[in-house]
C-alpha cells in the first residue's frame, strides 16, 4: 500500500514541480523558438508516458500485492499486445523526431543574407572579429598567433586589414539581422554559449565551426563557456549586446580595425587604395 501511494506521489509531485517550480528557461532572444516548441512537444509526450507507466506500476502493486492464497496468472506472451505497444511507441518517437529533424535542417542551413561574426576563444576570454567594410574576414592561422597578432590573422591577406577587432569587450549585434557565428579557438576546446539564444557550438583549435541565429530582442546577454577548458572554465565569461540598428552603427563606428591596432605600416597602404 505504502509503495503504491509513494509511486502515485512521485507522479503527482513531478508534474506539480514541472508546472509550479520557479526554475524554467530564460526568456528567448533569438529566432530559435522552434527549439523551445520541440522541447515542449517532447515534454508532453515523455511526461504522459512517465505518468502512465508509473501509475500502472502503482496500480499493479496495489491490486496484485501478495495475499494468502493468491496465485499469479500464467501468460508467457501476448503477440497482439506487444505489437500494439511497439506500434504506439514508434508513433510517439516519430512525433518527436520529425519536428526535431525539420528544425535541425533549419539550424544548419545558414540564410544567404546572414552576416559573419567571428568568435575567438582563448583561455579564458572571448574576442570577436567582424569582417569590416569589405564584408570579408581575412585568413587566419593559429601558428601566426603572437603578442602583436592575438587573432593569428594573415598579415598579407588584404581582406583582413579592415577586420574590426573587439578584444576583451562585449560583442554588439544588430537586432533582427541573421548572423553566422564563426567559431575558432587558439588553444583548447571551448563552447560559445548564450542561454537566451538557445544555441551553442564547440570551438576546436585547428578548425572553424559555426552556428547561426537572428537576435530578436535588444539587451545584454551573458556568454558562458560550455566546454571544459581547464581550471578557469567557469570564469570564461563575456557578453553580447543586441542593439537597434542605430545604436549598433554608432558602436561599430567606435571600434578599431586590425590595421589600426597591430599593423600601422599596413594602414598606410590600405588608406592609399
Amino acid at each position: 500500500m505504502v509503495v503504491a501511494v509513494v509511486l502515485v506521489l512521485i507522479v503527482v509531485g513531478s508534474v506539480a514541480f514541472h508546472f509550479l517550480s520557479p526554475w524554467w528557461w530564460t526568456p528567448i532572444a533569438s529566432n530559435w523558438g522552434y527549439i523551445d516548441n520541440t522541447i515542449i512537444i517532447t515534454f508532453w509526450i515523455t511526461g504522459a508516458v512517465f505518468a502512465a507507466v508509473v501509475l500502472f506500476v502503482a496500480y499493479c502493486v496495489w491490486r496484485f500485492r501478495h495475499k494468502d492464497g493468491q496465485k499469479a496468472d500464467y501468460e508467457p506472451e501476448n503477440k497482439r499486445l506487444e505489437n500494439w505497444l511497439m506500434g504506439l511507441t514508434a508513433v510517439g518517437v516519430a512525433a518527436m523526431l520529425i519536428p526535431g529533424l525539420f528544425v535541425w535542417g533549419q539550424f544548419i542551413t545558414v540564410p544567404a543574407e546572414a552576416t559573419e561574426a567571428e568568435v575567438v576563444g582563448a583561455q579564458w576570454q572571448w574576442s570577436y572579429r567582424l569582417p569590416g567594410a569589405d564584408g570579408k574576414l581575412g585568413l587566419s592561422d593559429t601558428r601566426l598567433v603572437a603578442a602583436d597578432n592575438p587573432y593569428g590573422i594573415k598579415p598579407d591577406d588584404p581582406n583582413g586589414h579592415d577586420d574590426v577587432l573587439i578584444e576583451a569587450d562585449y560583442l554588439h549585434l544588430p537586432i533582427d539581422k541573421p548572423v553566422k557565428m564563426l567559431l575558432r579557438s587558439v588553444d583548447t576546446l571551448h563552447d560559445f554559449y548564450v542561454a537566451e539564444f538557445r544555441s551553442k557550438m564547440d570551438m576546436i583549435p585547428g578548425a572553424v565551426t559555426y552556428f547561426w541565429f537572428t537576435p530578436t530582442r535588444t539587451g545584454q546577454f551573458e556568454v558562458l563557456c560550455a566546454e571544459l577548458c581547464g581550471t578557469g572554465h567557469p570564469y570564461m565569461r563575456g557578453g553580447v549586446v543586441v542593439d537597434t540598428q542605430e545604436d549598433y552603427d554608432a558602436w561599430l563606428a567606435g571600434q578599431s580595425t586590425y590595421a589600426q591596432l597591430y599593423a600601422p605600416e599596413v594602414l598606410k597602404t590600405a588608406t592609399i587604395d
Binding site: 496484485f64 511497439m86 588553444d187 585547428g206
Partner: protein, 596 residues
C-alpha cells in the same frame, strides 16, 4: 538440438571427472583463487571499496556547489579532480566491474549449470589485472600534481595541457590504468562469452537461459567490441603526451607559446571515446535489464512477459548502440549533417528499450507481488530508468540537444539513467543473491531503511536538477552562483540537492554495515529462500562449493520462468525438474487459455 529427455547420468558419463584445478592451500583457495565465485566476490569487494571513494568525492563536489568556500581545501583544481575521478570510478571501476566481473563471474557458471568458467586461470588473471588498474588509479592521488582533472571524458587537447590538474603525471596514470582495465576485462570477458557459448549444461539451450545471463552475455560481447576503441584512444593520447606525437593535437598556443604539435584532430578522440562510451552505457544497462527481469519475475511469482521479445530486444539494443555514438557530439563541431543520421538511430533505440519496460510492468500485471527488498529495488529501477530514459529522448533529438547539451540537464539525465537506475538494480541483486553467497539473509529493517532513503533521495537529487539545465546552468562549473540569468532561488535548490546527496550517501553506510553484520548475524536462508527456478538456487550446498553442483551436473528441462504454472503443486518449478507439465517448448509460444 539437445534432447532434454536423456537421463542425468548421460552427462556425467561424458565428463567422468571434471577437470577442475583443486586448490591445496589457503592462498590458492581464497586469494589466488581460480573459482569464479571467489573471483566474483573479489571483484565485487574491490568495486564497492573504490566506489566508496567515488561516493565521498560526490559529497565533496556537492559541498562546493552548495557552500562554496566552506571547505577551504577545495579549489578549482581539486574540484575538477573530484568530478573526473568520481565519474571514471563510477562508470568503469565500480558499475562495469561489479556487473560483469562480480555478477558475471558469480552467476554465469551457476545459472548455466557449469562447474566454473572455461578458463579459470585467465579468469584469476583478469581480477588481478583489474586490481592493478584500480591501484594505479588510486596511486595518482599520491603523485606530484595529483590525479587528472580533465573530466571523465578526458577530451584532448585540454587533458594533457597545463591548466588541467594532474598534467604532470595524473593523466598518464589515468591512461595506463584504463589500458590495464581493458586488458583485464578482455581476459574476463572472453571467459564469459566462451562459457555462455560452450559451458552450458545439458538442456540449457540459449533460449532457456535466464535473462540475467542474456544481459551479461550481450554486454560482454559489446565490451569486447567497444573497449578496443578506448584502448587505442588511450595509447594514442599517451603517445601525444609522452612522445610528442600529434594524433589529437593540432597546432595550438598554450600560455602564449606555440606548442610543437601540428595537424592532429581533437574530434578524432571524441569519436573513439564515444564509440566506446555509448556502448558503455548499454554495457552497464543490459546486465541491469537482465537482472531486473529475473528479480521482477521471481518476486512477482510470474513468468517474465514476452521472454523471446526480451531476448531480441537485448540483442537489438546491443547492436544499435554501436551506431549512435555521435549523439554525444551534436555540438562538438563535427559535420552537422551527421546529426540527422545519429538522431534517427538514437530515437529508434527507444523502441526496443520501451518494449523492455512494457514487459517488466506487464509481468507485474496479475502477478502475486511480494514486496521483498529485491522487488522494491526493481520497482525503483523502473521509475528511475523510465524517467532517465525519457529525458534521453530530449538529448538524442539533435536540435533539442543544442540548448541542453553541456548543462546540468545532461548531468541529471545520465545520473538517473546509468547511475541511479543500474545501481538500484545492483542493490536489488545483492539483496537477492546474498543468501546464496553467504547462506544468510540480509537484515530486512536495514534493507527497508536503505531502500527508502536511497530511492526517494536519489529521485529528489536528480529530478529537480534537470530544471537547472533547462534554465541553462552549465555543468562542470566550479562556481555557478554569479551566472546572470540564474535567480537566487537556484542556489536554494543547489543546497537542497547537496543535503539530499549527503543523506543518500550516509544511507549507503547502513547498507555496507548490513553486508558485514549479516555474514554472522543474518537469519539462515536455506538453499532457495525466494523459491526461485534458476539453477543457482538448486545447488546441493549453500553457499555453493568449488565445482558448484556436486558429483553430477543438473540437466535442464524447462525455461527459467515456470512460476505459478496452472496445475503445478507449487508456484515454481525449478529448471532442472523433469516432467512435462506444462507442455513446454523453449519459451512457451501459446497464449494463456489456448492449451489445457
Amino acid at each position: 538440438m539437445v534432447d532434454a529427455t536423456h537421463g542425468p547420468d548421460a552427462h556425467a558419463a561424458e565428463f567422468p571427472d571434471v577437470e577442475l584445478y583443486h586448490p591445496r592451500s589457503w592462498w590458492t583457495r581464497y586469494v589466488f583463487s581460480q573459482d569464479a565465485k571467489v573471483i566474483a566476490i573479489q571483484y565485487a569487494s574491490t568495486a564497492l571499496a573504490i566506489g566508496m571513494l567515488a561516493l565521498v568525492l560526490s559529497w565533496l563536489m556537492r559541498m562546493q556547489l552548495a557552500f562554496p568556500g566552506f571547505l577551504t581545501f577545495i579549489d578549482a583544481a581539486a574540484y575538477y579532480q573530484f568530478i573526473t575521478m568520481h565519474g571514471m570510478i563510477m562508470v568503469i571501476y565500480l558499475i562495469t566491474a561489479l556487473f560483469l566481473g562480480g555478477f558475471g563471474n558469480y552467476l554465469i557458471p551457476l545459472m548455466l549449470g557449469a562447474r566454473d568458467m572455461v578458463f579459470p586461470y585467465v579468469n584469476m588473471l583478469s581480477y588481478w589485472t583489474y586490481l592493478l588498474a584500480v591501484l594505479v588509479l588510486v596511486a595518482s592521488w599520491f603523485t606530484p600534481g595529483g590525479p587528472t582533472g580533465a573530466g571523465w571524458t578526458l577530451y584532448p587537447p585540454q587533458a594533457i595541457l597545463s591548466n588541467t590538474p594532474g598534467q604532470e603525471s595524473g593523466i598518464v596514470l589515468m591512461l595506463v590504468s584504463l589500458i590495464l582495465f581493458v586488458i583485464g576485462f578482455t581476459m574476463g570477458g572472453l571467459n564469459y562469452i566462451v562459457t555462455v557459448l560452450q559451458g552450458r549444461t545439458r538442456g540449457m539451450t540459449l533460449m532457456r537461459m535466464p535473462l540475467t545471463v542474456w544481459g551479461i552475455f550481450i554486454a560482454t560481447v559489446m565490451a569486447m567490441l567497444a573497449f578496443p576503441a578506448l584502448f587505442v584512444a588511450c595509447v594514442m593520447m599517451l603517445f601525444d603526451k609522452l612522445l610528442g606525437t600529434s594524433f589529437f593535437m593540432p597546432a595550438l598556443v598554450e600560455m602564449g607559446e606555440l606548442l610543437p604539435h601540428d595537424g592532429g584532430s581533437p574530434i578524432l578522440f571524441q569519436h573513439l571515446f564515444w564509440f566506446f562510451g555509448h556502448p558503455e552505457v548499454y554495457i552497464v544497462a543490459l546486465p541491469a535489464f537482465g537482472i531486473v527481469s529475473d528479480l521482477i519475475s521471481t518476486h512477482a511469482r510470474k513468468n517474465i512477459f514476452g521472454y523471446r521479445m526480451m531476448v531480441w530486444a537485448i540483442v537489438i539494443i546491443g547492436a544499435l548502440s554501436f551506431v549512435v555514438w555521435a549523439h554525444h557530439m551534436y555540438v562538438s563541431g563535427m559535420n552537422p549533417y551527421f546529426g540527422f543520421f545519429f538522431a534517427v538511430t538514437t530515437l529508434i533505440i527507444a523502441v526496443p528499450t520501451a518494449i523492455k519496460v512494457y514487459n517488466w510492468v506487464l509481468t507485474l500485471w496479475r502477478g502475486d507481488i511480494h514486496l521483498n527488498p529485491p522487488m522494491l529495488f526493481a520497482l525503483a529501477f523502473i521509475v528511475t530508468f523510465v524517467n532517465g530514459g525519457l529525458t534521453g529522448l530530449f538529448l538524442g533529438n539533435v536540435v533539442v540537444d543544442v540548448p541542453l547539451s553541456d548543462t546540468m540537464f545532461v548531468v541529471a539525465h545520465f545520473h538517473m539513467v546509468m547511475g541511479v537506475a543500474p545501481i538500484l538494480v545492483i542493490f536489488g541483486a545483492i539483496y537477492h543473491w546474498y543468501p546464496k553467497i553467504t547462506g544468510r539473509m540480509l537484515d530486512n529493517t536495514m534493507a527497508h531503511l536503505h531502500f527508502w532513503v536511497t530511492f526517494l533521495g536519489a529521485y529528489l537529487i536528480f529530478f529537480p536538477m534537470h530544471y537547472l539545465g533547462i534554465m541553462g546552468v552549465p555543468r562542470r562549473y566550479f562556481e555557478s552562483g554569479d551566472i546572470s540569468f540564474q535567480p537566487p532561488s537556484a542556489h536554494d535548490l543547489n543546497i537542497f540537492i547537496t543535503v539530499m546527496a549527503l543523506i543518500v550517501g550516509a544511507a549507503q553506510l547502513v547498507f555496507v554495515f548490513n553486508l558485514i553484520w549479516s555474514i554472522r548475524h543474518g537469519k539462515p536462508s536455506g538453499g532457495n529462500p525466494w523459491r526461485a527456478t534458476t539453477l543457482e538456487w538448486q545447488t546441493p550446498e549453500t553457499p555453493p562449493v568449488h565445482g558448484n553442483f556436486g558429483r553430477e551436473l543438473p540437466v535442464v528441462y524447462r525455461w527459467a520462468y515456470d512460476y505459478s504454472v496452472p496445475g503445478a503443486a507449487e508456484d515454481f518449478i525449478p529448471q532442472n525438474q523433469p516432467g512435462t507439465n506444462p507442455p513446454h517448448s523453449e519459451a512457451p509460444r501459446k497464449r494463456k487459455g489456448t492449451k489445457p
